[in-house]
Subunit: 272 residues, 2 copies
Amino acid sequence: MKIATLGPEGTFSHEAVLKYSNDAEILFNGTIMGIFESVAGGKAKLGIVPIENSVAGTVGQTLDCLVKFGIKIRDEMILPIRHHLAGFGNANDIRNIRTLYVHPQTYEQCELFVKRFLPKAEIIETSSNGKSAEIVAKSKDKASASIIPKTATSIYGLRMIKKDVQDSRFNVTRFFAVGNSNNKKTGYDRTSIAVYPQIDKPGLLYNMLGEFAKRKINLTKIESRPSKGKLGDYIFYIDFQGHKSEKHVNESLKVIEGSFFVNVLGSYPRKY
Amino acid sequence: MKIATLGPEGTFSHEAVLKYSNDAEILFNGTIMGIFESVAGGKAKLGIVPIENSVAGTVGQTLDCLVKFGIKIRDEMILPIRHHLAGFGNANDIRNIRTLYVHPQTYEQCELFVKRFLPKAEIIETSSNGKSAEIVAKSKDKASASIIPKTATSIYGLRMIKKDVQDSRFNVTRFFAVGNSNNKKTGYDRTSIAVYPQIDKPGLLYNMLGEFAKRKINLTKIESRPSKGKLGDYIFYIDFQGHKSEKHVNESLKVIEGSFFVNVLGSYPRKY
Protein backbone atom coordinates (compact mmCIF):
# COMPACT_ATOMS: atom_id res chain seq x y z
CA MET A 1 0.00 0.00 0.00
CA LYS A 2 1.27 3.46 -0.89
CA ILE A 3 1.35 5.86 2.08
CA ALA A 4 2.35 9.52 1.83
CA THR A 5 4.01 11.21 4.80
CA LEU A 6 6.32 14.05 5.84
CA GLY A 7 9.92 13.65 4.69
CA PRO A 8 12.83 13.46 4.55
CA GLU A 9 13.54 9.93 5.85
CA GLY A 10 14.05 9.74 9.59
CA THR A 11 11.30 12.09 10.74
CA PHE A 12 8.79 11.15 13.43
CA SER A 13 6.16 10.93 10.66
CA HIS A 14 8.34 8.28 9.05
CA GLU A 15 8.39 6.42 12.40
CA ALA A 16 4.59 6.68 12.55
CA VAL A 17 4.21 5.05 9.13
CA LEU A 18 6.58 2.20 10.08
CA LYS A 19 4.50 1.62 13.22
CA TYR A 20 1.25 1.68 11.22
CA SER A 21 2.28 -0.69 8.45
CA ASN A 22 5.41 -2.77 7.92
CA ASP A 23 5.00 -3.25 4.18
CA ALA A 24 4.05 0.25 3.05
CA GLU A 25 5.60 1.90 0.03
CA ILE A 26 6.35 5.34 1.48
CA LEU A 27 6.07 8.57 -0.53
CA PHE A 28 7.94 11.34 1.28
CA ASN A 29 6.56 14.84 0.88
CA GLY A 30 7.97 18.16 2.11
CA THR A 31 4.66 19.62 3.30
CA ILE A 32 1.36 18.54 4.83
CA MET A 33 -0.53 20.09 1.91
CA GLY A 34 1.55 17.97 -0.46
CA ILE A 35 0.50 14.82 1.41
CA PHE A 36 -3.18 15.72 1.06
CA GLU A 37 -2.66 16.43 -2.64
CA SER A 38 -1.10 12.98 -3.09
CA VAL A 39 -4.09 11.30 -1.45
CA ALA A 40 -6.65 13.45 -3.30
CA GLY A 41 -4.92 12.78 -6.62
CA GLY A 42 -4.76 9.02 -6.05
CA LYS A 43 -0.93 8.88 -5.91
CA ALA A 44 -1.19 7.44 -2.38
CA LYS A 45 -3.97 5.42 -0.77
CA LEU A 46 -3.39 6.94 2.68
CA GLY A 47 -1.63 9.93 4.16
CA ILE A 48 -0.15 9.85 7.66
CA VAL A 49 -0.03 13.30 9.23
CA PRO A 50 0.62 14.71 12.72
CA ILE A 51 -2.42 16.32 14.34
CA GLU A 52 -1.21 17.28 17.82
CA ASN A 53 1.80 17.02 20.08
CA SER A 54 1.51 17.11 23.85
CA VAL A 55 4.21 19.80 24.09
CA ALA A 56 3.86 21.81 20.86
CA GLY A 57 0.04 21.59 20.54
CA THR A 58 -2.18 21.22 17.48
CA VAL A 59 -0.79 21.12 13.94
CA GLY A 60 -2.95 23.77 12.28
CA GLN A 61 -1.98 22.86 8.73
CA THR A 62 -3.48 19.38 9.17
CA LEU A 63 -6.79 20.74 10.44
CA ASP A 64 -6.97 23.23 7.59
CA CYS A 65 -6.25 20.56 4.97
CA LEU A 66 -8.89 18.22 6.41
CA VAL A 67 -11.50 20.93 5.94
CA LYS A 68 -10.20 22.04 2.54
CA PHE A 69 -9.68 18.67 0.84
CA GLY A 70 -12.72 16.84 2.25
CA ILE A 71 -10.50 13.81 2.91
CA LYS A 72 -11.61 11.60 5.82
CA ILE A 73 -9.84 10.55 8.99
CA ARG A 74 -9.59 6.74 8.87
CA ASP A 75 -7.45 6.06 11.94
CA GLU A 76 -5.59 7.68 14.82
CA MET A 77 -2.36 6.58 16.42
CA ILE A 78 -0.22 7.75 19.31
CA LEU A 79 3.56 7.84 18.97
CA PRO A 80 5.79 8.49 22.00
CA ILE A 81 8.31 11.17 21.01
CA ARG A 82 11.77 10.15 22.12
CA HIS A 83 14.80 12.21 21.17
CA HIS A 84 18.34 10.82 21.19
CA LEU A 85 21.75 12.44 21.11
CA ALA A 86 23.54 10.81 18.16
CA GLY A 87 26.86 11.10 16.35
CA PHE A 88 30.18 9.28 16.18
CA GLY A 89 31.31 9.60 19.80
CA ASN A 90 30.18 7.67 22.89
CA ALA A 91 28.65 8.61 26.23
CA ASN A 92 32.04 9.63 27.73
CA ASP A 93 32.58 12.13 24.94
CA ILE A 94 29.54 14.30 25.62
CA ARG A 95 31.69 17.07 27.11
CA ASN A 96 33.80 17.10 23.93
CA ILE A 97 30.88 17.88 21.62
CA ARG A 98 31.47 21.34 20.23
CA THR A 99 28.67 21.58 17.64
CA LEU A 100 25.08 20.42 17.98
CA TYR A 101 22.80 20.23 14.93
CA VAL A 102 19.18 20.35 15.95
CA HIS A 103 15.73 21.25 14.60
CA PRO A 104 14.29 24.26 16.51
CA GLN A 105 11.22 22.33 17.74
CA THR A 106 13.40 19.45 18.88
CA TYR A 107 15.67 21.94 20.66
CA GLU A 108 12.65 23.37 22.50
CA GLN A 109 11.80 19.89 23.73
CA CYS A 110 15.36 19.15 24.92
CA GLU A 111 16.45 22.61 26.05
CA LEU A 112 17.08 21.70 29.71
CA PHE A 113 19.17 18.68 28.69
CA VAL A 114 21.29 20.75 26.28
CA LYS A 115 21.87 23.52 28.84
CA ARG A 116 22.94 21.03 31.48
CA PHE A 117 25.06 18.59 29.47
CA LEU A 118 26.27 20.63 26.48
CA PRO A 119 26.50 24.15 27.91
CA LYS A 120 29.42 25.11 25.66
CA ALA A 121 28.33 23.50 22.39
CA GLU A 122 27.45 25.78 19.49
CA ILE A 123 23.80 25.20 18.55
CA ILE A 124 23.17 25.11 14.79
CA GLU A 125 19.50 24.96 13.85
CA THR A 126 18.38 22.79 10.94
CA SER A 127 15.18 22.54 8.93
CA SER A 128 14.28 18.96 9.98
CA ASN A 129 15.41 16.09 12.20
CA GLY A 130 16.42 14.15 9.09
CA LYS A 131 18.63 17.06 8.04
CA SER A 132 20.34 17.18 11.48
CA ALA A 133 21.28 13.51 11.08
CA GLU A 134 22.45 13.95 7.50
CA ILE A 135 24.80 16.85 8.31
CA VAL A 136 26.48 15.00 11.19
CA ALA A 137 26.73 11.79 9.11
CA LYS A 138 28.55 13.67 6.34
CA SER A 139 30.88 15.49 8.78
CA LYS A 140 32.27 12.21 10.22
CA ASP A 141 33.34 14.41 13.14
CA LYS A 142 33.34 13.15 16.76
CA ALA A 143 32.96 16.72 17.99
CA SER A 144 29.62 17.10 16.17
CA ALA A 145 26.31 15.61 17.28
CA SER A 146 22.59 15.82 16.55
CA ILE A 147 19.38 15.20 18.47
CA ILE A 148 17.17 12.91 16.38
CA PRO A 149 14.54 10.14 16.38
CA LYS A 150 15.71 6.52 16.66
CA THR A 151 14.80 5.74 13.03
CA ALA A 152 17.20 8.44 11.85
CA THR A 153 20.17 6.96 13.73
CA SER A 154 20.07 3.72 11.71
CA ILE A 155 19.19 5.38 8.37
CA TYR A 156 22.17 7.75 8.62
CA GLY A 157 24.52 5.32 10.36
CA LEU A 158 24.94 7.30 13.58
CA ARG A 159 25.64 5.93 17.05
CA MET A 160 23.22 6.71 19.87
CA ILE A 161 25.38 8.67 22.34
CA LYS A 162 22.65 9.22 24.93
CA LYS A 163 19.07 7.92 24.83
CA ASP A 164 15.94 9.83 25.78
CA VAL A 165 17.21 13.37 26.11
CA GLN A 166 13.72 14.96 25.91
CA ASP A 167 12.93 17.19 28.93
CA SER A 168 9.38 15.95 29.49
CA ARG A 169 8.83 12.24 30.02
CA PHE A 170 5.32 12.76 28.68
CA ASN A 171 5.82 13.73 25.07
CA VAL A 172 3.54 12.09 22.54
CA THR A 173 2.32 12.98 19.06
CA ARG A 174 -1.07 11.93 17.79
CA PHE A 175 -1.21 11.11 14.07
CA PHE A 176 -4.13 10.66 11.70
CA ALA A 177 -4.25 8.24 8.78
CA VAL A 178 -6.38 10.01 6.15
CA GLY A 179 -7.98 8.60 3.02
CA ASN A 180 -10.81 8.88 0.54
CA SER A 181 -13.49 6.75 2.21
CA ASN A 182 -15.51 6.52 5.42
CA ASN A 183 -15.19 3.92 8.19
CA LYS A 184 -17.91 1.61 9.51
CA LYS A 185 -18.84 1.63 13.19
CA THR A 186 -16.69 -0.55 15.48
CA GLY A 187 -18.49 0.29 18.73
CA TYR A 188 -15.41 2.03 20.19
CA ASP A 189 -15.05 5.07 17.94
CA ARG A 190 -14.23 8.73 17.97
CA THR A 191 -15.59 11.42 15.66
CA SER A 192 -13.90 14.70 14.70
CA ILE A 193 -15.91 17.65 13.43
CA ALA A 194 -15.21 21.24 12.40
CA VAL A 195 -18.03 23.71 12.97
CA TYR A 196 -18.41 27.32 11.94
CA PRO A 197 -21.11 29.58 13.44
CA GLN A 198 -23.76 30.70 10.91
CA ILE A 199 -24.80 33.59 13.15
CA ASP A 200 -23.09 35.67 15.83
CA LYS A 201 -24.93 35.19 19.11
CA PRO A 202 -23.59 34.97 22.68
CA GLY A 203 -23.83 31.49 24.22
CA LEU A 204 -23.70 29.68 20.85
CA LEU A 205 -20.80 27.47 21.92
CA TYR A 206 -22.40 26.80 25.29
CA ASN A 207 -25.65 25.70 23.65
CA MET A 208 -23.80 23.45 21.23
CA LEU A 209 -21.94 21.70 24.06
CA GLY A 210 -25.33 21.30 25.78
CA GLU A 211 -26.53 19.12 22.89
CA PHE A 212 -23.62 16.75 23.51
CA ALA A 213 -23.91 16.91 27.32
CA LYS A 214 -27.60 16.05 27.42
CA ARG A 215 -26.96 12.91 25.30
CA LYS A 216 -23.99 11.94 27.52
CA ILE A 217 -21.54 12.26 24.60
CA ASN A 218 -18.03 12.72 25.95
CA LEU A 219 -15.97 15.52 24.39
CA THR A 220 -12.27 14.65 24.20
CA LYS A 221 -10.92 17.78 22.50
CA ILE A 222 -12.14 21.26 21.70
CA GLU A 223 -10.22 24.02 20.03
CA SER A 224 -11.16 27.35 18.54
CA ARG A 225 -8.99 28.70 15.74
CA PRO A 226 -9.26 32.02 13.93
CA SER A 227 -11.08 31.34 10.65
CA LYS A 228 -9.66 32.77 7.45
CA GLY A 229 -12.36 35.44 7.36
CA LYS A 230 -11.64 38.12 9.91
CA LEU A 231 -10.14 38.27 13.36
CA GLY A 232 -12.65 37.19 16.00
CA ASP A 233 -14.36 34.72 13.62
CA TYR A 234 -13.61 31.27 14.90
CA ILE A 235 -13.88 27.71 13.67
CA PHE A 236 -14.30 25.10 16.40
CA TYR A 237 -12.64 21.71 16.11
CA ILE A 238 -14.23 19.10 18.35
CA ASP A 239 -13.49 15.43 19.05
CA PHE A 240 -16.05 13.29 20.84
CA GLN A 241 -16.64 9.62 21.59
CA GLY A 242 -19.03 7.79 19.27
CA HIS A 243 -19.59 7.11 15.56
CA LYS A 244 -21.54 9.48 13.34
CA SER A 245 -23.92 6.64 12.38
CA GLU A 246 -25.04 6.21 16.01
CA LYS A 247 -28.48 7.60 16.82
CA HIS A 248 -27.50 9.90 19.73
CA VAL A 249 -24.56 11.32 17.75
CA ASN A 250 -26.68 11.87 14.67
CA GLU A 251 -29.39 13.63 16.69
CA SER A 252 -26.86 16.02 18.24
CA LEU A 253 -25.36 16.90 14.87
CA LYS A 254 -28.81 17.55 13.39
CA VAL A 255 -29.66 20.07 16.13
CA ILE A 256 -26.26 21.76 15.91
CA GLU A 257 -26.71 22.21 12.16
CA GLY A 258 -29.45 24.71 13.03
CA SER A 259 -26.85 27.30 14.01
CA PHE A 260 -23.52 25.99 12.69
CA PHE A 261 -22.09 24.78 9.41
CA VAL A 262 -20.96 21.28 10.40
CA ASN A 263 -18.18 19.40 8.63
CA VAL A 264 -17.67 15.78 9.80
CA LEU A 265 -13.94 15.08 9.36
CA GLY A 266 -14.32 11.38 10.09
CA SER A 267 -15.36 8.64 12.54
CA TYR A 268 -12.57 6.19 13.37
CA PRO A 269 -11.61 3.53 15.94
CA ARG A 270 -10.31 5.19 19.06
CA LYS A 271 -6.95 4.30 20.55
CA TYR A 272 -7.22 5.91 24.02
CA MET B 1 13.17 49.77 27.95
CA LYS B 2 14.70 46.31 27.49
CA ILE B 3 12.44 43.90 25.57
CA ALA B 4 13.32 40.25 24.92
CA THR B 5 12.04 38.55 21.78
CA LEU B 6 12.70 35.74 19.31
CA GLY B 7 15.81 36.20 17.19
CA PRO B 8 17.71 36.46 14.98
CA GLU B 9 17.09 39.97 13.62
CA GLY B 10 14.46 40.15 10.91
CA THR B 11 11.88 37.72 12.35
CA PHE B 12 8.20 38.61 12.68
CA SER B 13 8.75 38.80 16.45
CA HIS B 14 11.32 41.51 15.74
CA GLU B 15 8.68 43.35 13.65
CA ALA B 16 6.22 43.04 16.53
CA VAL B 17 8.67 44.69 18.96
CA LEU B 18 9.33 47.56 16.51
CA LYS B 19 5.57 48.08 16.23
CA TYR B 20 5.15 47.99 20.02
CA SER B 21 7.92 50.41 20.93
CA ASN B 22 10.24 52.54 18.81
CA ASP B 23 12.93 53.03 21.45
CA ALA B 24 13.28 49.53 22.87
CA GLU B 25 16.63 47.93 23.51
CA ILE B 26 16.01 44.49 22.02
CA LEU B 27 17.46 41.28 23.45
CA PHE B 28 17.22 38.51 20.85
CA ASN B 29 16.74 35.02 22.17
CA GLY B 30 16.70 31.71 20.29
CA THR B 31 13.75 30.18 22.16
CA ILE B 32 10.50 31.19 23.80
CA MET B 33 11.64 29.65 27.08
CA GLY B 34 14.76 31.82 26.91
CA ILE B 35 12.58 34.95 26.61
CA PHE B 36 10.59 33.99 29.71
CA GLU B 37 13.84 33.33 31.59
CA SER B 38 15.12 36.80 30.65
CA VAL B 39 11.95 38.43 31.99
CA ALA B 40 11.84 36.26 35.14
CA GLY B 41 15.52 36.98 35.85
CA GLY B 42 15.13 40.74 35.37
CA LYS B 43 17.37 40.92 32.29
CA ALA B 44 14.41 42.32 30.31
CA LYS B 45 11.41 44.30 31.52
CA LEU B 46 9.07 42.76 28.94
CA GLY B 47 9.04 39.77 26.61
CA ILE B 48 7.21 39.84 23.28
CA VAL B 49 6.09 36.37 22.20
CA PRO B 50 3.78 34.93 19.52
CA ILE B 51 0.65 33.28 20.91
CA GLU B 52 -1.33 32.29 17.80
CA ASN B 53 -1.26 32.57 14.04
CA SER B 54 -4.39 32.44 11.93
CA VAL B 55 -2.87 29.79 9.66
CA ALA B 56 -0.52 27.83 11.91
CA GLY B 57 -2.62 27.97 15.11
CA THR B 58 -1.60 28.34 18.75
CA VAL B 59 2.04 28.50 19.87
CA GLY B 60 2.03 25.85 22.56
CA GLN B 61 5.42 26.80 24.00
CA THR B 62 4.09 30.26 24.91
CA LEU B 63 1.06 28.85 26.75
CA ASP B 64 3.24 26.38 28.63
CA CYS B 65 5.70 29.07 29.68
CA LEU B 66 2.90 31.37 30.88
CA VAL B 67 1.71 28.62 33.23
CA LYS B 68 5.20 27.57 34.30
CA PHE B 69 6.81 30.96 34.94
CA GLY B 70 3.80 32.75 36.50
CA ILE B 71 4.60 35.79 34.34
CA LYS B 72 1.59 37.95 33.42
CA ILE B 73 0.17 38.99 30.06
CA ARG B 74 0.37 42.81 29.97
CA ASP B 75 -0.74 43.50 26.40
CA GLU B 76 -1.82 41.87 23.15
CA MET B 77 -1.10 43.00 19.62
CA ILE B 78 -2.04 41.82 16.14
CA LEU B 79 0.56 41.79 13.37
CA PRO B 80 -0.43 41.14 9.74
CA ILE B 81 1.93 38.51 8.37
CA ARG B 82 3.18 39.58 4.97
CA HIS B 83 5.83 37.58 3.14
CA HIS B 84 7.97 39.05 0.37
CA LEU B 85 10.15 37.48 -2.29
CA ALA B 86 13.55 39.17 -1.88
CA GLY B 87 17.01 38.97 -3.36
CA PHE B 88 19.17 40.84 -5.87
CA GLY B 89 17.01 40.53 -8.99
CA ASN B 90 13.85 42.38 -9.97
CA ALA B 91 10.28 41.40 -10.84
CA ASN B 92 11.21 40.44 -14.44
CA ASP B 93 13.79 37.98 -13.16
CA ILE B 94 11.42 35.73 -11.22
CA ARG B 95 11.62 32.98 -13.86
CA ASN B 96 15.43 33.03 -13.56
CA ILE B 97 15.45 32.21 -9.87
CA ARG B 98 16.98 28.79 -9.49
CA THR B 99 17.30 28.50 -5.69
CA LEU B 100 14.80 29.59 -3.06
CA TYR B 101 15.80 29.76 0.62
CA VAL B 102 12.76 29.59 2.85
CA HIS B 103 11.73 28.64 6.39
CA PRO B 104 9.39 25.57 6.33
CA GLN B 105 6.51 27.46 8.02
CA THR B 106 6.89 30.36 5.60
CA TYR B 107 6.92 27.90 2.70
CA GLU B 108 3.65 26.38 3.94
CA GLN B 109 2.10 29.85 3.88
CA CYS B 110 3.34 30.64 0.35
CA GLU B 111 3.17 27.18 -1.23
CA LEU B 112 0.65 28.07 -3.97
CA PHE B 113 2.70 31.13 -4.99
CA VAL B 114 5.93 29.13 -5.19
CA LYS B 115 4.31 26.34 -7.22
CA ARG B 116 2.85 28.83 -9.66
CA PHE B 117 5.71 31.32 -10.11
CA LEU B 118 8.82 29.32 -9.21
CA PRO B 119 7.91 25.80 -10.32
CA LYS B 120 11.49 24.90 -11.23
CA ALA B 121 13.39 26.53 -8.37
CA GLU B 122 15.16 24.27 -5.89
CA ILE B 123 13.65 24.80 -2.43
CA ILE B 124 16.21 24.90 0.38
CA GLU B 125 14.69 24.99 3.84
CA THR B 126 16.27 27.16 6.54
CA SER B 127 15.88 27.38 10.30
CA SER B 128 14.44 30.94 10.40
CA ASN B 129 13.34 33.80 8.15
CA GLY B 130 16.38 35.79 9.29
CA LYS B 131 18.61 32.92 8.19
CA SER B 132 16.96 32.79 4.71
CA ALA B 133 17.78 36.47 4.24
CA GLU B 134 21.34 36.10 5.53
CA ILE B 135 22.18 33.23 3.14
CA VAL B 136 20.93 35.09 0.06
CA ALA B 137 22.67 38.31 1.17
CA LYS B 138 25.99 36.49 1.44
CA SER B 139 25.53 34.71 -1.93
CA LYS B 140 25.22 38.01 -3.88
CA ASP B 141 23.60 35.79 -6.54
CA LYS B 142 20.74 37.01 -8.75
CA ALA B 143 19.57 33.43 -9.26
CA SER B 144 18.97 33.00 -5.50
CA ALA B 145 16.04 34.44 -3.57
CA SER B 146 14.33 34.17 -0.18
CA ILE B 147 10.83 34.71 1.17
CA ILE B 148 11.08 36.96 4.22
CA PRO B 149 9.41 39.70 6.33
CA LYS B 150 9.86 43.33 5.25
CA THR B 151 12.13 44.11 8.22
CA ALA B 152 14.59 41.47 7.04
CA THR B 153 14.93 43.01 3.56
CA SER B 154 16.40 46.23 4.91
CA ILE B 155 18.49 44.60 7.63
CA TYR B 156 20.17 42.29 5.12
CA GLY B 157 20.23 44.75 2.21
CA LEU B 158 17.98 42.76 -0.13
CA ARG B 159 15.62 44.09 -2.79
CA MET B 160 11.93 43.24 -2.64
CA ILE B 161 11.34 41.33 -5.88
CA LYS B 162 7.63 40.70 -5.32
CA LYS B 163 5.49 41.93 -2.43
CA ASP B 164 2.85 39.96 -0.57
CA VAL B 165 3.44 36.45 -1.79
CA GLN B 166 1.46 34.78 1.05
CA ASP B 167 -1.35 32.53 -0.18
CA SER B 168 -3.99 33.69 2.27
CA ARG B 169 -4.82 37.37 2.40
CA PHE B 170 -5.91 36.80 5.99
CA ASN B 171 -2.74 35.87 7.81
CA VAL B 172 -2.17 37.51 11.18
CA THR B 173 -0.18 36.64 14.26
CA ARG B 174 -1.28 37.64 17.73
CA PHE B 175 1.53 38.51 20.15
CA PHE B 176 1.58 38.94 23.91
CA ALA B 177 3.76 41.38 25.82
CA VAL B 178 4.54 39.62 29.09
CA GLY B 179 6.00 41.04 32.30
CA ASN B 180 6.21 40.73 36.06
CA SER B 181 3.20 42.81 37.16
CA ASN B 182 -0.59 42.98 36.76
CA ASN B 183 -2.61 45.57 34.81
CA LYS B 184 -5.34 47.83 36.14
CA LYS B 185 -8.81 47.77 34.61
CA THR B 186 -9.32 49.97 31.51
CA GLY B 187 -12.99 49.07 30.91
CA TYR B 188 -12.18 47.34 27.59
CA ASP B 189 -10.17 44.34 28.66
CA ARG B 190 -9.63 40.68 27.99
CA THR B 191 -8.61 38.00 30.49
CA SER B 192 -6.76 34.76 29.74
CA ILE B 193 -6.96 31.78 32.08
CA ALA B 194 -5.67 28.21 32.15
CA VAL B 195 -7.83 25.71 34.01
CA TYR B 196 -7.20 22.09 34.92
CA PRO B 197 -10.01 19.78 36.12
CA GLN B 198 -9.65 18.66 39.77
CA ILE B 199 -12.02 15.76 39.20
CA ASP B 200 -13.02 13.66 36.19
CA LYS B 201 -16.77 14.08 35.61
CA PRO B 202 -18.75 14.30 32.34
CA GLY B 203 -20.13 17.74 31.58
CA LEU B 204 -17.45 19.59 33.58
CA LEU B 205 -16.52 21.83 30.65
CA TYR B 206 -20.17 22.45 29.82
CA ASN B 207 -20.91 23.53 33.40
CA MET B 208 -17.89 25.84 33.44
CA LEU B 209 -18.99 27.58 30.26
CA GLY B 210 -22.45 27.94 31.84
CA GLU B 211 -20.94 30.12 34.58
CA PHE B 212 -19.67 32.51 31.92
CA ALA B 213 -22.85 32.32 29.80
CA LYS B 214 -25.21 33.13 32.65
CA ARG B 215 -23.21 36.29 33.47
CA LYS B 216 -23.11 37.28 29.78
CA ILE B 217 -19.31 37.02 29.64
CA ASN B 218 -18.19 36.59 26.03
CA LEU B 219 -15.64 33.84 25.37
CA THR B 220 -13.21 34.74 22.59
CA LYS B 221 -11.02 31.62 22.56
CA ILE B 222 -11.09 28.15 23.99
CA GLU B 223 -8.55 25.43 23.51
CA SER B 224 -7.91 22.10 25.14
CA ARG B 225 -4.35 20.78 25.15
CA PRO B 226 -3.06 17.48 26.48
CA SER B 227 -1.60 18.15 29.93
CA LYS B 228 1.80 16.75 30.77
CA GLY B 229 0.25 14.03 32.94
CA LYS B 230 -1.31 11.35 30.78
CA LEU B 231 -3.10 11.20 27.45
CA GLY B 232 -6.71 12.25 27.83
CA ASP B 233 -5.93 14.71 30.67
CA TYR B 234 -6.50 18.16 29.27
CA ILE B 235 -5.76 21.73 30.28
CA PHE B 236 -8.19 24.31 28.95
CA TYR B 237 -6.99 27.74 27.83
CA ILE B 238 -9.77 30.31 27.70
CA ASP B 239 -9.91 33.99 26.71
CA PHE B 240 -12.93 36.08 27.63
CA GLN B 241 -13.94 39.72 27.64
CA GLY B 242 -13.63 41.55 30.97
CA HIS B 243 -11.06 42.24 33.71
CA LYS B 244 -10.49 39.89 36.60
CA SER B 245 -11.22 42.70 39.08
CA GLU B 246 -14.78 43.10 37.71
CA LYS B 247 -17.52 41.66 39.92
CA HIS B 248 -19.17 39.34 37.34
CA VAL B 249 -15.78 37.97 36.25
CA ASN B 250 -14.66 37.43 39.81
CA GLU B 251 -17.89 35.62 40.69
CA SER B 252 -17.53 33.23 37.73
CA LEU B 253 -13.94 32.41 38.62
CA LYS B 254 -14.88 31.72 42.27
CA VAL B 255 -17.54 29.18 41.23
CA ILE B 256 -15.24 27.52 38.68
CA GLU B 257 -12.57 27.10 41.35
CA GLY B 258 -14.91 24.56 42.96
CA SER B 259 -14.05 21.99 40.28
CA PHE B 260 -10.97 23.35 38.47
CA PHE B 261 -7.52 24.60 39.39
CA VAL B 262 -7.65 28.13 37.91
CA ASN B 263 -4.57 30.06 36.81
CA VAL B 264 -5.22 33.66 35.72
CA LEU B 265 -2.57 34.41 33.07
CA GLY B 266 -3.44 38.10 32.92
CA SER B 267 -6.05 40.81 32.24
CA TYR B 268 -5.03 43.30 29.54
CA PRO B 269 -6.49 45.95 27.21
CA ARG B 270 -8.12 44.26 24.25
CA LYS B 271 -7.22 45.18 20.69
CA TYR B 272 -10.07 43.52 18.74
